[in-house]
Symmetry: C2
Subunit: 457 residues, 2 copies
Amino acid sequence: MGVGPDFLGSAQARADQAVTPDPEAVLSARTQAHDFRVCEVPLRALSRWRLGDDLAHETRRFFTIEGLLVETNFGTTPRWTQPIIMQPEIGMLGFVAKRLGGVLHLLAQAKMEPGNHVTVQVTPTVQATPSNYLRVHGGRATPYLEYFLPGPARGRVLVDQLQSEQGSRYYRKRNRNMIVELPEDREVELGDDFAWLTLAQIRTLLATGNRVNMNARTVLGCIAFGPAETRPSDPGPFREAVLASHLADAKAEVDEASTWLADVKTEVHLDARPIPLGKLERWIVDDESLRHESGRFFRVIGVEVQAGSREVVTWTQPMVAPVHQGQVLLLCQRREGLLRFLLQARVEPGFIDRVELAPTVQVAPGNIVRKSDLPPLAEYLSAPEAWVRLHAPQSEDGGRFYHADTDHLIVELPEDEQVELPPGFHGRWLTLAAIKRLMASGYYVDVEARSLVSCLG
Amino acid sequence: MGVGPDFLGSAQARADQAVTPDPEAVLSARTQAHDFRVCEVPLRALSRWRLGDDLAHETRRFFTIEGLLVETNFGTTPRWTQPIIMQPEIGMLGFVAKRLGGVLHLLAQAKMEPGNHVTVQVTPTVQATPSNYLRVHGGRATPYLEYFLPGPARGRVLVDQLQSEQGSRYYRKRNRNMIVELPEDREVELGDDFAWLTLAQIRTLLATGNRVNMNARTVLGCIAFGPAETRPSDPGPFREAVLASHLADAKAEVDEASTWLADVKTEVHLDARPIPLGKLERWIVDDESLRHESGRFFRVIGVEVQAGSREVVTWTQPMVAPVHQGQVLLLCQRREGLLRFLLQARVEPGFIDRVELAPTVQVAPGNIVRKSDLPPLAEYLSAPEAWVRLHAPQSEDGGRFYHADTDHLIVELPEDEQVELPPGFHGRWLTLAAIKRLMASGYYVDVEARSLVSCLG
């Protein structure tokens, strides 16, 4: 009765409490069990996709690539056009959770995604769109889906948040981030590609990098620790500080941050309108690819995938391929007795409500021509090794992005390091508790920040 | 130290505690002090407005009227086009609050709005858009604005919520709803059109109808009572039940309702795209007006306003004129020991996130051709008099809507009345506490529901 989910207990679980002894071995085994080949092809080679005012599948199911005209008073570029992904459906990203041996475990899938460098990674138990799972189209049913949908099979809802995806690549895309807990006595059949993991195990995979896919990271980022059932055993000074920041009483901080964020939203002008691809300015649109005439930013390319063990399945689809690797940095520092993280209010044209909280720095340095155009605080991307608490590459959504790894950095500044927030940089130092509470309202914390926060585990 | 705002004390204040003895007299005096003339003119008579792909002011400041193409799987009409108001700016709607004689009062303005039948009504202390108050254009400064803006003059923030406006008339329009409290010892100069009112006085004006404008109602609707400082003195059984519902512990109820609402959002498909006015289907667009060929729904017309006491100011502007009067109904009933209100999840093309909670019934019956097309539960619009707790006309925003009064009805069902929720009606019974908590997240409760809730005071 009334026993909480105890995410914290799972995050602090010892190795001998985990039912899957070696998660890396699970990923390797699944990599060997399947065979994948992914190669870039011209857009004209895409089967049943048509390039016109937009790039769309004949059936107009799935996503489309359209043009977007953006006008804003935020940042240094007042007007631009760009291709953007339109996908109005709300995808379901969900982990099944269950206590095993008294410790909460999440049911992870080891899944191949064609865009990723490391193709097999931990994904949520379910990642599917309603058109996948609601339509009858002769395909296999999505396993474990019934635990998330309304009805008697639904588990106890521990997390349920609608969140944005990359606002610079998707136009108002949302995902539903869920964790549902099944009772201990509910038998769950374990599919070949599935394994139960503790949050402690997942945190280790996150520290390695390229082991936990973007969809999993956004769900994990939404987890908020409740009052502790178990106390951690000597987790080291940084983790101790993270935990204290996570468990802080953040009510006043959240109210003040909401008002500050509303101030920024009120000052910002943003007009972002879909336009035909033919009206893109300085973008080359042909049956090879969509690409910027400067060669920078990203390309929209075709990809051919061959996958299968016994029978081979082949498909083609468009993907977004960044030209340069991105970097995201979260600065933190002990301030007023608690570890606080520096987020910035950032405008992206595809955000639901114009402004969300983003990492301290979010940049693809290769896109920057002059060093003076680097964003504020970019100098901390090369912080001294002793300050670095996490440094790992993480993949973007491997179903839409091709070879898109983003370098994740968490840097803890010494207490005597003075950080000057430059004019025009809308930054704020927040406890992890405040970040989680703002996140729970939906559309407050962007996917890059949620991904970094997930690594704090 | 730590004394709360005590909205509840203000809502339960006696007449002799109020510093303005007769609010009706204030409104009458202001009506007599000014002289207004408002008349409908053809669109071609609008000075400096141009009709083309959109209807816009030459300067492209202010709002525009554009076309919208809507496709959805929600409701009975899968595809339609309509004109819609575009106004990307976030308007500031704010009340200054202050304790006077120990009771919290709000600083109301008695203000003329050209679209309203009853032109002078109570409005917030400030209602302004950033382009009003940020640009220097030789006009008068907005009085009291400094108490809302970031800076040392800002009052203590009691309410600060971004909320939607009519999603069927505005495309993704938002307002910022604020109440800021000034310290008791802060001197505030009282302008001619301003008066301090208690929430009890405002509730009386709301019960009369057409005394409190839409912008004021949406701010008032956001007020949540904290733990009671004062206890009400025998307020009658309905108000006692409303209060208990407002002060209920709603944590679990809110979590369940959020998941239910996410279920609805996930099922719904909505694509709403701006189109040129020339592409509207079944709408007549000429230099007289925009109007539907059936004569139903609404018209976009021109309005000429002459206002002034000593010197006369004249201006022209477009307005939206509904053809038929709207009705909104909120059913409530004692269920599981608490008064609960029946809201429905409703899709409107201009909502920020597709779906919001709306009144039980929201309809302009004149637009309905066949009686069988009336929405579910419309029969309660003619509920027995003994069940009616509020019945009053309230104006829509008199700056955009012309002669748009909406009939507000709150009906309390006897406990033994069985209400069947028909299939396709996404209804849910919620305590007032749950409604207020959902509202606080922003974009969860639509403006019609907030307006009804404001009348519960």
